[in-house]
Amino acid sequence: MKYKSIDMGSYNLHLIKTKKFKTITVKINFRNKIHKEDITVRNLLTDLLTHSTKNYKTKKELVIKTQDLYAINLTAGNTRLGDHINTEFTLSCLNDKYTEKDNFSNSLEFFSEVIFNPNVENKEFNHEVFDLIYDNAKTSLTGIKENSSYYSLIRCLENMDPTSPMSYRMVGYLSDLESTTPKSIYEYYENMIKKDRVDISVIGDFNTKEMEQSIKKYFKFNTYKKKVKIKTLKSDKKIIRKKIIKEQENNKQSKLAIGCRIQPLKPFERNYTLTLYSLILGGFADSKLFNEVREKSSLVYYINSIPNKLDNTLLIRAGISKENFDKAIKLIEKQLTLMKKGDFTEEDITKAVQIYKNSLEEIEENPSYLMEAYYLMDLIGIDDLDTRRIKINEVTKDDIIKVAKKIKIDTIYLLEGDES
């Protein structure tokens, strides 16, 4: 595998050459500071762009085109990285070896059409298409409570800090949807193309020089963009008293979401120690939470902890019966305390390291994971895969205890069902 990063002036091009895959995958990332009111607009925009274009006026025509190109996959979506919003377009295409000459090149041309030649008339998105996408978004946002697991998570974060980006709903908001028009969203689109920071990544088996030329040919961004580093969210907010919040919903199972804050971490702690801490606490099937709350007490089917190192948060989630709330909380809090006291073994650490190393190798077998790994290396300054494999061994038990002491529960949220 060979990695090359090329400064193309208006964007960075990341080429990962490998014979591992029969496909070539291309990702285009647009990135900017996140504003709450932009999320809904960006979601609409990615839906609009992947629905139709100037030359492929309907979804049907667009899909038929993708099928004719030997079933290319074309997807788009928005995520939040710390204080930034990241819009990602992905094209996955079989290598010409398995299709026919120029199929990749034609796919790239089509990809460029999707991004640069939207279904627009007089600087407004086509009204019929807009209506349709708008309606679909409205229905989805109206039904947000149907996904009780996701809903409990966002309610937990909103109770932790309603003003911080960590609590922004990435599905968007009905109120922002209502103020969006075919005109306003086109203006937004133009701005995004002009002002966002852009990265293009390609992975697969190709000739590096030729690939650079093809990308240059089909993706022309005109403006020079200054590099903006992604910032982690502030974590200096003091927790005065932990909040316990319960809301009712007519579901069978109650969903528990516990939001913890993490005091400022050093880069090594953030990238390595925190990962091992969370694995031991609730990151795999032999973790403390899994063993104590599920295997020994039969209170849950699933329970896990996930750290967000850019947000300085750790989230613990489980599905429980409402009458077991107190029991479950007591057990979970006990595990957090035991981690602080160093009540875990060297063997626990070795296991967590194995899981971590295994996940690094899984990354190498999946084109999408690999691209993300390289993208984040550049973006938030994390180490490359080989360095990570070595550095993870340096984490000591004392390091983990130190991190454990920086983690405190801020909010305990229960979306309470009506069955016990």
């Binding site: 591992k20 009780s148 007519n250 199972q253 039969s298 089917y301 194995q354 899981i355 899984e362 077998e365």
Partner: protein, 425 residues
Amino acid sequence: MKKVELAGLEKTVFYEKLENGLDIYMIPYDDKKNYYISYATRFGSITTEFTPEGKKRQIKVPNGVAHFLEHKMFENENRESPFVFGSKYGTGYNAMTSFDSTQYICYGTKYFLENLEFLLSFVNEPYFTDENVEKEKGIIAEELKMHEDIAETVLEDKLREITYKNHPRRIDIGGSVEDIQKITKEDLYNCYNTFYKPNNMFLLIVGSFNKNEALKTIKDTLNNYENHKSGTIIQKKYKEPDSVFKKEETITKNIQIPKVGVALKINKDKLKFKDDFKLDLYLQMLLSTMFGISSDFRETLREEKLFNSFYTSMESADNFRVLQFVSETNEPDKFINYLKKSIKEIEVKEEDLNRIKKVWIANEVKMIDIIDNTVYNQYDDILKYGNVIPDKIDIIRSLNKKEIDKIIKNINLNNIAVVKMLPNK
């Protein structure tokens, strides 16, 4: 070992049938670091009435027993649990129960032989006690409740309940919270001793490993289990009528957007088409061309704003094939009428057929590139057709309008069941 080339995919399946009857399929990759092992029994939720091994009378075990048994296989008397073992080696262990099979899986990048041995061993060492059976009930009850909160799952369950009259597919895989309370360790042993027999099981290994070493480890490990011999399986046969059990039903749930499920029930014997694999391809072709993302049907739904989401699937139950359509829509009645009308007017166009063939062939190539996908793909074929399908791409190429037209002509397009799910407030 028998060599079977997967034509057009640059991969070889190495097949071996052990003396005890176990089928082994191995697909080695020399350019991957990871591996994925699936050890499966052809025993799933639909089998609850059978004659236990060594006994004479047929018994009925509670619904959900196959899934319960799957959970309890992770408990061992003389060795650590797969979760603990896997954590030590950085490998993942899991298991899945479906209507007609239960599989135990292991995936990782290192210590292949150790993990292969462990997987085979723990699945061959049942250890059920009154105490550990009791303990599992709380965990599984939470799992079932979690599923009951997912609207699509409830809708699909209801749809099967009114599609089938007698076939146990009408019962949810996990059973109900009440069903599982009745399960005892005797139930589990009866099922285990009858269905976890080598001639009822298969082993599928894909990824980075050496096939000769693997085969040796399999033989050595299974030699430790002397009782592990093939048995005869006698289970209840169900007489299922051709027509759907009920034509329509409306249910309510804590949802905001109405949902609709539609099933077209087909007795495949009436289609007079001999090749099961090809017939299934044709029925899926019918779904893709007529109701897939590039169909006129969807385009009209979009124009009329009749749906928010929509997906189709096909399931097999003995000699029945059921085409399922599930949608989220603000206009359930309009949607149902339009779908019914479209089903009645099914006619596959040649150009659509040819385009979808191209898509399917491309997808086969893409799937073989990712180990997990290869496992899912081959597992389905082995389970359904009793073997891997080496010339799948050629068969896809051979699909034609003449044959699909003939099949469609023989389908009773009015044999439809409909479930409407409406918000309960």
